[in-house]
Amino acid sequence: MNAIGAPVIEAKTVGKTYGVGRAPVRALDGVSFAVPEAAFVSLVGPSGCGKSTLLQIMGGLVPSTEGEVLIDRERVAKPMPGKIAIVFQDATLLPWKTARANVEFPLELQGIGAAERRRRSDDMLNLVGLGDFTERFPHELSGGMKQRVSIARGLAQEPRIILMDEPFGALDEQTRIKMGQELLRIWEATRKTIFLITHSLTEAIYLSDRVLVMSHRPGRIVETLTIDLPRPRTYDMIGGVEFGRARNRIWSLITADEAEGAVEP
């Protein structure tokens, strides 16, 4: 178990309505939760429930309609590149830059000197296991490797928090499991706070200290599960009783909500 510290992210009754006038869409409603320092927290929920919207609000990319998100007790009003790094579902690498140049790109924009950029890109690419691929272009890398570069790019900004929006959603299952294990290793090595959005209940339970379960649109947090599995986590835990119980609980929450909402067949 990790020692869980003071909250570094706090969402307070966050609400979001898209569009005004005739057909406004209520994406989020009264979302409140806290993420402790250095914790690994996942958010699961049905597709289209506003998970990505919530992440974008947390990252300062989209304003909320009501409520607020605090990072280190500071209200998020715009992106905070020094504190928060975001990893998107597509690796969003710049195809004309090498892995190293991609990792250094944000640092270059922030005016960090070449030697320091070099040091950080070396460190982070090594950390994600791409030490031998620093001069490769994205098209020479597999899907999993591209996502590793993207994670290294996030880490190189030395943020306190990494927000991940379905980072492994586009990968095949085997790669996905390996990437999850890699992510745990990276998390344990760096002690960052990680907030992960995923469709995969297994992934959420396997990786996290806490799992937030979100309802159908408008998204609300219907339950917060604490995952008490010991760390380091091992693959065989997935078959364990405790794991199964957590997965059943989340599944029943999601399906109950679907029956209640009855939005789509």
């Binding site: 992106p79 590149p81 579902q89 710049l94 790109f105 924009l109 098209h139």
Partner: protein, 252 residues
């Protein structure tokens, strides 16, 4: 020289010999076809005059290209990065592109005279739409997460545009430039042929009415040089900036 290159040159020689032979044995009337040697004689006769005309044409093309490129890319970028604008202006641009502009040329002549101005206006209008449209779609089809990435790493709007979005859209922009620039070259020469007192198009038409077939072919050859040069330049540009796109496709 590779085998393929040798064969390519051999083909060119064969075609030139046949071409020359057809005229030497008078199989085709001299009003219809001029042989390479006749074109060369035309060059010796009116070379300086034609080269001067060529310079006029090149200047018109250069000015038109500069204006078309900046206008087309500029409008395309704006229309592409503001979704609402692209959605409303896109169909209008597309349908304007479909109008055969040459029917307007008589009006341009009245408005701008028969000097270079009317050629430039005509050429800019001809080349503008494909460049603007391609740029617009190029920018619009970019994954929105690239913009979000840019903002999340603290990039300014200008940095997002110039360091991320424009380079990503570049392959689309260049394919627009290819079509647009070809149209600019065609438009300048056509406009010269329709009404003017200078330029290569003017001399082609002039000598055609006098049945100086050799001179006409000389003019055509110079126009070809022009189109080829433009094409080579664009291919070079495409290679330089578009390489990763081709590689990515090959790797995918």
């Amino acid at each position: 020289m590779s085998r393929a290159a040798v064969i390519r040159w051999a083909w060119i020689v064969v075609v030139l010999v046949l071409w020359e032979g057809v005229r030497r044995f008078d199989l085709v009337n001299q009003i219809i076809l001029a042989s390479p040697s006749e074109i060369w004689r035309s060059y010796l006769a009116v070379g300086p005059q034609f080269l001067a005309a060529f310079r006029v044409t090149l200047a018109e093309i250069a000015v038109s290209m500069a204006i078309t490129w900046s206008l087309g890319i500029g409008v395309g970028l704006v229309a592409g990065s503001i979704p609402y604008l692209g959605l409303t202006a896109g169909p209008i641009l597309s349908s304007l592109f479909a109008i055969p502009l040459v029917v307007w040329y008589p009006l341009f002549m009245i408005w701008f005279g028969i000097g270079p101005e009317s050629k430039v206006v005509f050429a800019v209008l001809s080349g503008f739409f494909p460049i603007a449209l391609n740029t617009m779609y190029g920018v619009r089809l970019l994954d929105r997460s690239y913009t979000l990435l840019g903002r999340s790493i603290g990039a300014s709007r200008v940095q997002i545009l110039f360091r991320i979005l424009i380079p990503l859209a570049l392959p689309a922009v260049i394919s627009g430039l290819r079509v647009g620039t070809a149209l600019v070259v065609i438009a300048v020469i056509v406009a010269e042929m329709l009404a003017s007192l200078a330029g290569i198009g003017f001399w082609v038409t002039y000598h055609r009415t006098l049945f100086n077939t050799g001179h006409v072919y000389l003019g055509i050859a110079l126009s070809l040089v022009c189109v080829l040069a433009v094409n080579l330049g664009l291919t070079w540009l495409e290679r330089r900036v578009g390489r990763w796109r081709a590689l990515e496709r090959a790797g995918a």
